[in-house]
């Protein structure tokens, strides 16, 4: 937790698929206790950028160091410090919610796993559905489970791809509250969203991506939602 190196230090990060650039030279430094919100139209490169930060996608160009560790092969200890929730739940449909969390708790070496799993299920409002297979979950329930899974091992860096999507108002408010608490506890968070008002209470910084590049970024927290939405709308005009 007391690293001198920032959780994220990226320079000129780029990624192309089949020769088509999706992320085209992003510089991003995220310190402990920061919540960076990535906005951008569909296809702007937000998800690919997030997957590069989660070490799931290798950059074709640029440098990425997480907690001061770079290089092609990330040590397992580094992955233990990262929590990632993507567009899909990353949970096995034929296992129950509790079984999924137990599986990941074992892989991540979570101490006192039963208590932690119970805590996360309760936070996700799934304590009554813990024994139901994920296949029977609604989209919103699966999203809550995905978020619980990403936070299960209390990571120092949390990467969330559209975390508020499919959540009902109560679950969305609980997530906002949780993110604020994690920020206060010194965790670094990078999240993507299209929902500026939802992100405003937790964001310490905003970057708008367009065509794989940072088209606009704020110096600090969102003070003027309308201004950020205007920047976002301008970037959306640059839809690929």
């Amino acid at each position: 937790m007391a690293d001198a190196a920032p959780p994220i230090h990226a320079r000129g990060l780029a990624r192309a698929f089949a020769g088509v650039p999706v992320v085209a030279g992003v510089d991003l430094t995220v310190g402990a206790g920061e919540v960076v919100v990535l906005l951008g139209p569909n296809g702007a490169g937000k998800t690919t950028l997030l997957r590069m930060l989660a070490l799931l996608v290798r950059p074709t160009e640029g440098e990425l160091a997480l907690f001061g560790t770079g290089g092609r092969v990330a040590p397992p200890e580094l992955r233990r410090r990262i929590g990632y929730a993507g567009h899909e739940s990353l949970c096995y449909p034929d296992l129950t919610a509790a079984e999924n969390l137990t599986f990941y708790a074992r892989l991540f070496g979570v101490g006192d796993a039963p208590a932690r799993i119970a805590e996360m299920l309760a936070w996700a409002g799934l304590d009554g559905a813990g024994r139901r297979p994920v296949r029977a979950f609604s989209r919103g329930m699966a999203q809550r489970l995905a978020l619980a899974r990403a936070m299960l091992h209390d990571p120092d860096l949390l990467l969330l791809d559209e975390p508020w999507s499919a959540l009902d108002p109560a679950a969305a408010a609980a997530l906002t509250e949780r993110l604020a608490a994690l920020r206060a506890a010194g965790r670094a968070i990078v999240l993507t969203t299209h929902d500026v008002p939802r992100a405003a209470p937790v964001a310490t910084r905003v970057a708008v991506l367009a065509r794989g590049r940072v088209a606009w970024s704020s110096e600090g927290p969102i003070r003027d939602v309308a201004a950020v939405e205007a920047a976002y709308a301008a970037a959306a005009g640059a839809r690929p």
């Binding site: 989660a54 233990r80 899909e88 990353l90 096995y92 034929d94 296992l95 599986f103 892989l107």
Partner: protein, 221 residues
């Protein structure tokens, strides 16, 4: 080791609950055996010579299906990304998936072998201990290669076709070794099967080590 066991336990747990892989593999195995037995309408005294190739052809064809399903589990809901974000060496993921495939295909062999004996009039019981060794070596070699290639195929668009295309040419030495060893065991006992067993053992060592080393490059972007 802990991670590999965790993945093995998860895969077997899912299989036990759904029984989709086992039931599919069993049904296909029985159907293939029936087709082989009917297509080769040989006299009972010549049927034992047919048993080894029928046994191993059935194993390979049904095994393809079983192994492919093992990786489709990881594709649904992007679960493979869940594994890859975990602090786990990809070699441990390979070991866990390999072990799960060996168990699944071993269970399939437990059904196929008696059925081959039944359909082709071969008394497998006297040769059973030596046969178990051949079956195990064949299973481990096939699973080692298939697990590696299933991880490749599952990321491609034509995944149903890709696995057989990648796997079948490379599995020929194993198939030859397994058939030779099985035939020798059924005819003359384990001592006569040394050449086939050597091929199988060598195949196992090469492809388990290759899978262990290469899996990380296959599953990581």
């Amino acid at each position: 080791m802990h991670a590999a066991l965790t993945i093995l336990r998860k895969d077997l747990g899912i299989e036990w609950r759904t029984r989709e892989g086992l039931s599919t593999v069993f049904v296909l195995a029985v159907m293939l055996l029936v087709v082989f037995a009917v297509a080769h309408d040989v006299p009972p005294d010549e049927a034992p010579a047919l048993a080894p190739p029928v046994l191993w052809a059935t194993f390979v064809l049904t095994g393809l299906l079983g192994v492919q399903r093992g990786f489709l589990l990881e594709r649904e809901n992007d679960c493979l990304a869940g594994l890859l974000t975990a602090p786990v060496d990809p070699a441990a993921i390979y070991a866990g998936k390999l072990a799960a495939n060996v168990v699944l295909l071993g269970a399939m062999q437990g059904v196929v072998v008696p059925l081959v004996g039944l359909f082709l009039h071969v008394d497998m019981v006297p040769a059973l201990p030596a046969l178990v060794l051949v079956l195990l070596l064949g299973n481990v070699g096939f699973s080692a290669l298939a697990t590696l290639f299933a991880a490749v195929a599952v990321r491609t668009r034509a995944r149903e076709v890709m696995l057989p295309l990648l796997l079948l040419p490379l599995v020929v030495p194993l198939l030859i070794g397994a058939v030779v060893a099985t035939r020798a065991i059924l005819a003359d006992g384990i001592a006569a099967a040394r050449d086939g067993l050597t091929v199988l053992a060598a195949f196992d060592v090469v492809f388990v080590v290759a899978g262990w080393l290469l899996f990380t490059y296959v599953v990581r972007d």
